[in-house]
């Protein structure tokens, strides 16, 4: 035993001791280790070695199962994530190609107009409203420019009331 270690003991001891002491120490170590070689320890029993190998073999499949389980969990996790993402993607895609949803113009133009199926009637109403608004605007302008018909403030108030009325009718559809 100990043949594999080819250290130069004297050189090693010389790092800490003088040459003479180092030589003596190296000799002490070598002689003592010779005693150990002359008294070998008993060898392990063959049955013990067989039992150890059997125990190792028993433990290894458990390790493999554990590794397999870890891989399986990862694969299942990734598959689930892919399925969820695909489902979300398809849903979005279907929405993108489908019928357009209701246009949200209600806050600007009356919903009744947008939802009406009678385009001709809606167009006629819009034309009437437009003409009325233009007429009122002209009257307001004339009043402001001093082309009063004698009614003074009352005429302006009446016109404003009329404008509000038209506006209200317009938004009601």
């Amino acid at each position: 035993m100990n043949d594999g270690n080819q250290e130069n003991l004297k050189e090693l001891f010389e790092k800490f001791l003088d040459a003479e002491q180092a030589e003596s120490c190296a000799e002490d170590v070598q002689k003592a280790e010779q005693i150990l070689r002359e008294h070998p320890a008993p060898e392990p029993d063959d049955m013990l070695i067989a039992n150890i190998k059997a125990e190792i073999a028993m433990r290894l499949p458990a390790g493999r199962t554990y590794v397999f389980k870890q891989i399986a969990y990862k694969v299942v996790g990734i598959a689930a994530a892919v399925i969820i993402l695909t489902a979300i993607g398809l849903r979005l895609f279907e929405k993108g190609n489908g019928e357009p949803g209701p246009v949200v113009y209600a806050s600007i133009i009356s919903t009744a107009i947008w939802e009406s199926d009678d385009i001709a009637a809606v167009d006629a109403n819009l034309a009437i409203f437009t003409v009325e608004i233009e007429q009122i605007e002209n009257e307001l302008l004339a009043l402001r420019l001093g082309e009063d018909d004698g009614n003074g403030d009352r005429s302006v108030t009446e016109l404003e009331m009329e404008l509000i009325q038209i506006n209200s009718d317009f938004w009601k559809g």
């Binding site: 035993m1 100990n2 043949d3 594999g4 270690n5 250290e7 090693l12 001891f13 790092k15 800490f16 120490c25 002490d28 170590v29 002689k31 003592a32 280790e33 005693i35 150990l36 008294h39 070998p40 320890a41 008993p42 060898e43 392990p44 029993d45 013990l48 070695i49 039992n51 150890i52 190998k53 125990e55 190792i56 073999a57 433990r59 290894l60 390790g63 493999r64 590794v67």
Partner: protein
């Protein structure tokens, strides 16, 4: 292919959970590790137990071996197993309120089986303290360099050299 290349291949096999490679490691190191445990405990049954524990630990920890001296790594585990055993024994003994010195003598006191013969060396080894005995056996059975032993024991190489020289000199005197 060199011996170290062979060992490297076997270790790779062990890391891949190849039972044949573990069997090869057992064949390669069982004798030396058994000698190490036997010289420390002086007891065959206990050495059997510790050797089994060592190889079970090897299976569990082979993934943490990151290269370097395999013997150094293996004997570090062996050393830890021995000291763990000592500590467990001491804890048990403390519960029974027995003196520490008595524990030491009980640990080294071989409980022989009927056909077991204790050699002179084993008798003299009992007279050395546990730490010195462990150092001598680590050096002899692991075949590690002093530098590697110092690393395992987390002490300066000069300390390792001095302790080993003192221990071996004493053993030589005892064996005369």
């Amino acid at each position: 292919m060199t011996k170290s290349d062979d060992l490297a291949q076997i270790i790779i096999g062990c890391k891949n959970k190849d039972s044949k490679c573990f069997s090869q490691i057992v064949d390669m190191y069982a004798s030396r590790c058994y000698g190490y445990f036997y010289r420390l405990t002086g007891n065959n049954d206990l050495s059997d137990e510790l050797l089994s524990e060592l190889f079970v630990k090897l299976v569990e920890k082979i993934g943490s071996y990151k290269g370097g001296s395999f013997e150094g790594w293996l004997f570090k585990i062996a050393s830890n197993i021995f000291y763990d055993y000592l500590r467990a024994k001491q804890r048990r003994e403390k519960l029974l309120d027995v003196q520490k010195k008595q524990i030491e003598s009980q640990i080294t006191e071989p409980k022989q089986s009927d056909n077991e013969q204790i050699d002179k060396l084993q008798i003299q080894l009992r007279k050395l303290d546990t730490d010195t005995r462990e150092l001598i056996m680590l050096r002899f059975y692991s075949q590690l360099s002093f530098k590697e032993i110092a690393v395992i024991r987390s002490e300066p190489i000069g300390t390792t050299l001095a302790k080993l020289h003192r221990g071996l000199k004493k053993l030589r005197e005892l064996m005369k």
